[in-house]
Amino acid sequence: MSIALETIGLDKQFGGLHVTRNLSLKVAAGARHALIGPNGAGKTTVINLLTGVLKADGGTILLEGADITNLPVHVRVLRGLSRTFQINQLYADLTPLETVGLAVSERLGNGGDWWRRLGSRANVNDEIAENLARFHLLDVMNEPTATLPYGKQRLLEIAVAIATKPRVLLLDEPAAGVPTSERQDILAAVAGLPRDVTVLLIEHDMDLVFSFADRISVLVNGALLVEGTPDEVAHDPQVKAVYLGEGLDA
């Protein structure tokens, strides 16, 4: 089985605080992999290291076998590693059409066009329309994002990430804060992600994790504690101990 995303001995410190410790993680191509861990385990730092927002102090990150450890954020995206954001970081005054349009334009290499208007390239328009249709956003595509219901905003979050045509998608708590009435739409969108996209899900919600993931890694204090199938992880005594709050520092 080929490996889509791999970290080898990833390390990060903030001053005296060791937030990522010698983390080696393998995400198989096409996998539905979940990264879980208690609060403060360093999940967000891992995302920031993978996407290039933070520079690792040590270790290597491989995307489909190619070293991306020192690439800037936007190049990693164009290489096929995208993410969604946990809390809404969408463009409040841009419309879904414009937001998705930005991502599609950059991916197709038209993002630097300054002499023609957005909307003047048929291939870009078609891809925007296809994306918005898939995520049920066509009816609100011309409304400012800030005015959309929260559930729609979460869908747009996933839509933008998919618009970059990722090979590997990092989903950062996709359902966090979504009201129960809109939750089903999000779960359906997550379940309906294309199978050829490898997904690494970072999540607190155990129902979502166990219904979605075929592989789970448990992160504690910045280090990998356990990795295995959902069944193995669910019955692992160490994991139980962590989630019951007994601590593992000793």
Binding site: T99, A103, L118, A122, T164
Partner: protein, 343 residues
């Protein structure tokens, strides 16, 4: 035709000319005939408007703040002056382009210092660069004329056809034409994917990078373009006044420019132009009223704008024109509807 669910149509609609925009430029052209005794102040409004447009491009669209935009204005002004004095490029339009390019080079080089860092460091770096240039111009007085400014600037006829007259009519039409052309270019740019990506960067640079936008490259590009615009504005200033002295680099010029953009509002292209008109009128009114204290009143207006909120003030000022516009469009819609119903 492709079935894009109206995506293309909706995107293109945003960039269409609106009636108020057309009205704005018709009034600008009409001012050539309406205010034939006020060409000097109109000319100032035109190049100040262009200068403000230049700041709006980086401030309103990309979120880069500057307290030293006079650096580019000054380079453009001195370049135009030197080209004329030494007879290197005699034809004004060509000289204008060369002066603009000189500022562009400076903009490109300094962009690397400016785009990194917080707003505070942007303010300090831009301010520092302008002060530095002012001192350099002072130091190399054999080239720049130092405190006395460049002497003996004579501007040739535009395109070899139109000489600058003493009433300033040709100068004003020239400035207005240049402003209009560069405005059109700016309008194309802000409605492009490139322009949209700037708005995304201003909103949230981290997010912009996360959808594949090369943030630094875009910021360098717009900062460089903005320097070109400011350089052209400076060159227009020199060509229409035959002056280039140290104050083209002055801190007051950069600070006033920020006022102009704040008065007019940033991020919709017209803010700088409207701000330039309002600022010059206020300056004129206040200085004829109290020659010594006009800056006090300008300051007061600024404080009021910030406290009251520009939105609310615009609503007040635009109440009448909006009412007229609404009547106009209602009437048109009414006649269109009845025309459709008739057959």
């Amino acid at each position: 035709m492709s079935n894009d669910h109206g995506v293309g149509e909706i995107s293109l609609r945003r960039a269409r000319w609106s009636a108020p925009e057309t009205a704005f430029w018709l009034i600008a052209v009409a001012s050539i005939f309406l205010f034939s005794d006020r060409y000097l102040i109109l000319t100032e409004m035109a190049w100040l408007g262009l200068f403000a447009l230049s700041l709006d491009l980086i401030l309103g669209y990309a979120g880069i703040v500057s307290l030293g935009h006079a650096a580019f204005f000054g380079v453009g002004a001195y370049a135009a002056g030197l080209l004329a004095v030494h007879g290197i490029v005699k034809e004004p339009v060509l000289a204008l382009l060369v002066a603009g390019l000189a500022a562009t080079v400076l903009g490109f080089v300094t962009s690397f210092l400016v785009i990194r860092g917080s707003e505070l460091s942007q303010l300090m770096v831009t301010l520092g660069i302008a002060l530095l240039l002012r001192e350099l111009a002072n130091k190399f007085s054999n080239i720049t004329g130092g405190f006395d400014g460049l002497q003996g600037i004579v501007i040739d006829p535009i395109l070899g056809l139109f000489s600058f007259d003493i009433f300033g009519k040709v100068g004003f039409i020239y400035c207005l034409a240049v402003l209009f052309v560069l405005f059109l270019l700016a309008r194309v740019i802000v409605n492009s994917p490139f322009g949209l990506s700037l708005r995304a960067i201003r909103n949230n640079p981290l997010r912009a990078a996360a959808i594949g936008i090369p943030v630094n490259r875009r910021l360098i590009a717009i900062y460089t373009l903005s320097a070109f615009y400011a350089g052209i504005a400076g060159a227009l200033f020199t060509q229409t006044t035959a002056l280039a002295s140290l104050d083209v680099f002055s801190f007051e010029r950069s600070a006033d420019l920020l006022l102009v953009v704040v008065i007019g509002g940033a991020g919709y292209l017209y803010g700088g132009l409207i701000g330039a008109v309002v600022f010059r009128i206020l300056q004129d009114v206040f200085s004829s009223w109290t020659p010594q204290f006009w800056q006090f009143w300008i300051g007061l207006v600024l404080v009021l704008i910030v406290l009251l909120g520009r939105e609310r003030m615009h609503r007040g000022v635009l109440w009448l024109p909006r009412l007229v516009m609404r009547r106009f469009t209602d009437a048109r819609r009414g006649s269109a509807a009845s025309g459709k119903a008739a057959p």
